[in-house]
Symmetry: C2
Subunit: 134 residues, 2 copies
C-alpha cells in the first residue's frame, strides 16, 4: 500500500512538512519516490524512520546521535553493542543534567525564600546573580 503524500506523513508523525523536506535535504531521511508531476511519495519505511527520529529527539538524543542510531539500527543492523554505548552515554548526560538542575533548584528556592517580595532596595535574587560562584 504505502504511498503517503508529504502532508499525510506530516499528519501521521506530527512532524512539520518543512522539517520533513529539511530531513531529506540533510540526508536524515531517504529521498522518496516521486509522482510524474514531482510530488513526493513516501512509503512505510519513511514513516517508521521519521517516527524514530521524532521519538529520539523527544527523548533528548542529539541530532548527531540520532543519525548514528539510524545508521546502526538501519539495514546494517550491527546493533546492540554500539547502540547501547550511545544510550548509556546519553543516560550519563541526563544524570549530570539532573544533578545540575537539582543544585540550581535548591539555590533558587533558598534565594526566593529570603525575598519578601516588597520593594526592598537590596534584593536577594539580584544579590545571588551578582555574586560570583566560588
Amino acid at each position: 500500500m504505502g504511498g503517503l503524500s508529504i502532508g499525510e506523513l506530516a499528519r501521521k508523525t506530527g512532524v512539520n512538512i518543512e522539517t520533513i523536506r529539511y530531513f531529506e535535504k540533510i540526508g536524515m531521511l531517504g529521498a522518496p519516490e516521486r509522482t510524474a508531476g514531482g510530488h513526493r511519495v513516501f512509503d512505510d519505511g519513511h514513516l517508521r524512520t521519521l517516527k524514530f527520529i521524532k521519538r529520539a529527539r523527544e527523548l533528548g538524543f542529539a541530532p548527531k546521535e540520532v543519525r548514528t542510531l539510524l545508521d546502526l539500527g538501519g539495514p546494517a543492523k550491527a546493533c546492540c553493542d554500539e547502540v547501547r554505548k550511545i544510550a548509556v552515554h546519553h543516560l550519563e548526560e541526563v544524570r549530570g543534567k539532573i544533578d545540575d538542575l537539582v543544585r540550581l533548584e535548591r539555590h533558587l528556592a533558598a534565594t526566593v525564600e529570603q525575598c519578601s517580595g516588597g520593594h526592598v532596595p537590596d534584593c536577594a535574587v539580584i544579590d545571588m546573580l551578582e555574586t560570583a560562584r566560588p
Copy 2:
C-alpha cells in the same frame, strides 16, 4: 582605575571577545567609551554587568529573562517584586525540567538494563525508540 580593554574584560569575565561585542550590538551591554583610535574602554559597571549576564546564563535564565533582570536591577531599581516573579517562574521551569529528565532517566536506565550488549538482532534500545509514546 577603570579602563579595561575588551581583551582584559574577556579575561576577567571568561566571556569571549566576539560575544562581548555581540552583547553590545544587541544592547545587552552598554556601549563603552572609545580611545582616539576607536578601541573600546570598559569601566567597572561594564565588568559588573557582564559578570551578571554570565552568571544568570549559567544559572539557566533565558536571554530575555536576563535582559529583564538587567532592566529591573539596573538604575531604576524597581526591584524585588518583579525580580522575584521571574526567579519563581524560572524555578518552576527548572522543577518541570527535573521531573521530565527523571522520567527519561528511568526509562533509559531500564532499557539499557535489558540490553545484554551482545549482537542480539532485537535491540531493546532500538525497540524503545521505535515504540510510540502512549
